[in-house]
Each structure stands twice: as structure tokens, then as C-alpha cells.
Symmetry: C2
Subunit: 347 residues, 2 copies
């Protein structure tokens, strides 16, 4: 393939706004003015109603750091009625341990014919501190039910007892056991937010350990870079109603998890690893998702080394919005895409 | 596939920011505060330098309507040294008319073996008013050179002489002629901005006329909805350094082109049409692109009816940014993806 340099040939199309632009900014940073943001007209009705009934995110409050004691309190495992949850979703949930790691098995009442021998290894979100215990299984339930695939959700160890690399170690320990009864191409791994980031980190670690990588990854709005680097951490601050700001809870979670390690360690911020040899990956984000940049940056890293990688971005969705408004068209479409992707790429 | 409703099971993961949120907003619209936006650290060096040396977009100035006389002056065709342009890119450019419509043939010095019998029908951007004349061919030159595919770029009629539906009519007229010597699956159609929107509109029209649709579409940041509906028209106002604001030039162009017709006519705003039967489509946008929402809304429309549709979003790119910073990694990656997509999907 050849791409020669091409001269300033787009000037006539592209310079028009520059005509009305003001004088050069002093140092390169831009000050962006305030604005009024209506609920997304082109989102689903369910999403619009949900957003309209949510207050405008309060950046000043959300950008306050959260101390470790408060994080620990927030991260205390919640109990759920797993029997009722399973019944409502058409799955059976059972607790277990694999290689000493707490897990939840999720078996759908109806397993899709394509997935008879397949397994979805799920990693929950919550910034590596929150979302543990029974609630860790909830997304796995949705994937299992909507795809018709058996799942195992890993309730990996977290701070304060077990900061990085415990989450990676636990994931690898379970994966090694799973590999004893299944071919790697029969296994998918994935989750949302930190769960998606951990899926990438674990895949980096598998490569380091010369383990075969799984057959597919589902990365929902991955926390792929724990530093404040991504463009949408700035541009969508206060517009993402879930994350709101990097400077408060998000950064506090990053530091609590990393426990003094370099945030750019590829096992902490998997974006900084090498993505050659990764399996086909489906990525999901939204136009209001502060991790949109994390998502698309990983997507480009995968594409740049020729990995099959499908990107889906939903109108008006904040971070993990497909998990927030239950039964919304955005949520249903997300898990339909995941289902089709797994059916296409698992062996 | 089954997706039962699932109860509020993500509460423990997802409600944490709501804890720090303020009281309910009165009416649903949010006021979003001002912010400081650094140049995208994770963009390429070329992009960062280009953005750092651009002033912060001036929304107040950019949101002034532009009158038809000024638009007409801005839209006056520019002449380019086509011989030099072709030589620098490794293509030969020749003017012609097909079915009475002005076109430019672009023949690459080296035609890729896969594309021996293929043709890329190019439609230029510029809001259906700007970008005509010699400059209309420039993007076709990049696609032809980078993909190794012959192209014909249509210099379709525009206002003030020929508002909607002239652009659609001219595209269909040329397409009918092209169909006389090629199978539809050997033809791709596409462009950027209005050129991408027109590609969709023309495909709607082909379906209405019972013409076979082409084998692939390249839709770079499509202007798919000429009304002010998309979420990113609000959220990225003043952050997109090319479009800056819908309320000024963009809306003026829409009204000048539509010439009193309903902006939601699917041949004007193709998002409102039906996308079943569309060919495989590649879509490109950026995290600062005010048409990001248009792009992802079309992507969902295509996916919802099962069309193969690949989405690519680049970190830090404004509208059509891959055409603005010549030779940047973002630009090269865009046209590499287009090339791979055409090679995969044209017959």
C-alpha cells in the first residue's frame, strides 16, 4: 500500500471555520465555554427519560478525592438474592471456588447450540475496588442469558487486602483451570470498565506466561489507561453522568488499586502493552462516555496490528450506560452485538 | 435470543457517582460548565502540534448565520494544478462529463490486483455548497492512491443554481452510466461529510428506483442528519475545531441546500431512511467530531438491520480531521482501513 504525502488540497473544503476563528491561543490549551445540553433526542425514550430525570453532574463535588477508608466502605461486598436474580433472567447461579478464587457459575436455562462447549469468563467492573461479592455476577447473568452461553464470573481479590496484581493473578489462576477442560478458542473473556481493562491485562499476562489466549474478548468501555491521558476525560467531564470527573473517585480508585506501582504498567493500564496476538475483540462505548477515548485508543491499537476488532458507540450513553437503564434498546443492542460476536468468533 | 428484563442489579457498581450528585435538575436540560482542554496527549505528534497551534474555537463568532450571498462566494469553484496534484500522489487526473455531469477520472499509476475491475465513485464534502470544482477531486486522489483503485469524482451541481435534489440526481445519473460497464459489486461509493451523507442519500434513491446498490460504502464522518438533533452537536460544540458550531455555517448550508424542503427528507437527511439492503459500510469519526453522533447513529441503523458496518473513531480528531493534517498517522490509518475494507467487500 502506498500513501504519498498530499499537499494542502483540502483547503477549500476545510478552512471555512478557521476564517471566523479568533487569534492564536497562547499555549495550546483551550478554554471551552459552558453550554446547555439537552437529553439526547436521538437516544431511546428510556434513555432520554432516565437522563432527563438525572441532575446535571456536579463536577465540583465529584472531583473531590475519596480516601481509602471511604473506598473500603463503598467496596464492601453486597449480598443479592441470587436465586431470584437467576430466575428472573433464566439462569442458574451457583457459588464455587476455582484454584482458591471465589467464582460464580452462571448456567442459562437454554444454551445456544453454537455455545454447547463454550464458556464466557466474566470480570466485573467497579474500579478494582467496588462491585465485588454477589453483585460481581450481574453482568455475567445478562451475557449468559442473552447469548445462551455458560459463564463463570470471577470475584477477584481487591484492595485493601489485595491490590494489584491480585486481580490479574486470580484471573490467570482461574483461566489455567478452565483451560484444562476447554480449548482456548472455546473461551471468551470480558466485562465492563475495570472488568474490560482486566480482560486486556490478563491477556497481556497470558502472552507473557506463554498461555494460549482465549477466542474472543468483550471489552465494554474499558478502563485501559488509568492515567489522565485520554481526550474524553477532559471533553466529556460533567457530561458523563456515571464517571463525572477523573479527578475524584476515578483517580482515587486507580491509586488505591495500583498501590504505588507505576500506573503505566501494562498490567495496570493495558493500553501500554503490545496487542499483537490478541483474539477478536468487541468494544462498546457511548458519545457521553469519558472512557470513549480509552475504548477507541485500544481499538486502534488492535487494528494497527491487524486484530479483528469491532467498535460500537451508542448515542447519548455515558460510561457503562448499557448496564444502567435496564431493558433499554441500547442495552439490548449491546448484548445482541456481543452475542453475535461470540457466535462468530468462538470455535 | 432472549433478554429478559433484569432488575436493578448494577446498583452497587453504578450508583457511586450519584451519591455525590446534586439535587434534581428542574427540566432535564443540563448546564455544563467551562473547562480547559489540552491538546490530545494520545493523538499523534502531528495532530497535537496542529491542534496546539490552532486557537480555541470561537463559538460566538462561528455561530453567526452566513447569508446566501456569502455562501455563494465561499462556494465559488477553486482551480488546482491537477497535473502537479496527480504527480505528487501517483495518479492521473482527467476532466470529463458523464451523462452531462462534470466528473474527474482518477487513475492510479499502480492499480492493486484486487481492484483491476473496480471503481470508487467519490462525492466531495463541503456542505453541498462548498468544495466544488477542482478541489472536489482531492479526497478521491487520496483514496485512489492509497487503495490502488480507479476513481471517478462527481462535481455535482450545487446551490445557488442547483439546490436539492440536484446533487442526488447527478449522482444517480453518473451511477447509471457506471453500471453499464461494471457489476454493482465492483463499485464503491463514498466521501466525507456531505459527500458521505450524499452517498447514503443516493443509495436510498437507488433502492427507490430499483437500481442495484453498490458493493461498499465509505462514509467519513457523514452529515446524516441536517437538523440539530445529534448529541455531539451540543456536547462537542467549540471542541470540534472544524465545525465549531451547528448554529452558524452548518445550519446556513443545510437551509441553502434544502431550498425549503423538509430537512428530515431521507434524501436530505439520510439517517431518516431505511437501511435494509445497504451494502457493507465503513464509517470514520473522531472523539472531537461534532458529527460523531451522526456517524454512530447511522452505524446503529445499519447494524440494526444486519448490515456489515465497521466503525472507526480516532482520538482527538475533529470533523474530517483525517483530511486536515496531511500525512498524519490518523490520516494514513483511515485510508488504510478504507483500502482493506474495499479489498474485502468489493467483488
Amino acid at each position: 500500500m502506498r500513501l504519498r504525502s498530499y499537499p494542502l488540497m483540502f483547503v477549500s473544503i476545510m478552512t471555512f471555520p478557521l476564517i471566523v476563528a479568533s487569534a492564536l491561543a497562547a499555549e495550546g490549551d483551550w478554554t471551552i465555554g459552558s453550554r446547555t445540553l439537552p437529553a439526547p433526542v436521538a437516544g431511546s425514550e428510556a434513555l432520554r427519560i432516565s437522563i432527563s430525570s438525572t441532575p446535571a453532574p456536579n463536577v465540583a463535588m465529584a472531583s473531590q478525592p475519596v480516601d481509602d477508608a471511604t473506598l473500603t466502605t463503598m467496596g464492601a461486598p453486597k449480598s443479592l438474592d441470587l436465586k431470584a436474580l437467576g430466575k428472573s433472567a433464566g439462569v442458574t447461579i451457583t457459588k464455587d471456588t476455582i484454584a482458591g478464587v471465589k467464582v460464580y457459575h452462571v448456567k442459562p436455562d437454554r444454551i445456544a447450540p453454537e455455545h454447547t462447549n463454550h464458556l464466557f469468563v466474566h470480570l466485573h467492573g467497579g474500579g478494582y475496588v467496588l462491585g465485588g461479592g454477589d453483585s460481581s455476577v450481574t453482568e455475567a447473568v445478562v451475557v449468559a442469558a442473552s447469548s445462551g452461553i455458560s459463564a463463570v464470573s470471577i470475584d477477584y481479590r481487591m484492595p485493601p487486602e489485595a491490590p494489584f496484581p491480585a486481580a490479574v493473578d486470580d484471573t490467570i489462576a482461574v483461566y489455567r483451570e478452565v483451560l484444562k477442560t476447554r480449548q482456548p478458542g472455546q473461551i471468551a473473556i470480558g466485562g465492563t470498565s475495570a472488568g474490560a481493562g482486566l480482560s486486556f491485562a490478563a491477556t497481556h499476562q497470558m502472552k507473557s506466561l506463554n498461555l494460549p489466549v482465549p477466542g474472543a474478548i468483550f471489552a465494554g468501555t474499558p478502563w485501559a489507561d488509568l492515567t489522565k491521558t485520554s481526550d474524553t476525560l477532559y471533553s466529556l467531564e460533567g457530561i458523563d453522568r456515571i464517571l463525572v470527573s477523573y479527578d475524584g473517585l476515578v483517580e482515587s480508585l486507580a491509586l488505591f488499586y495500583a498501590d504505588g506501582q507505576d500506573l503505566k504498567n501494562p498490567l495496570i493500564s493495558p493500553l501500554y502493552g503490545e496487542f499483537d496476538g490478541f483474539p477478536p475483540t468487541i468494544l462498546v462505548s457511548g458519545t457521553r462516555d469519558m472512557f470513549l477515548s480509552d475504548t477507541v485508543r485500544v481499538h486502534r491499537k488492535l487494528r494497527d496490528v491487524g486484530v479483528v476488532a469491532d467498535l460500537h458507540v451508542f448515542e447519548g450513553l455515558s460510561h457503562a450506560g448499557y448496564l444502567v437503564v435496564e431493558g433499554s434498546p441500547e442495552s439490548i443492542s449491546t448484548f445482541q452485538e456481543v452475542s453475535m460476536f461470540l457466535k462468530t468468533h468462538l470455535k
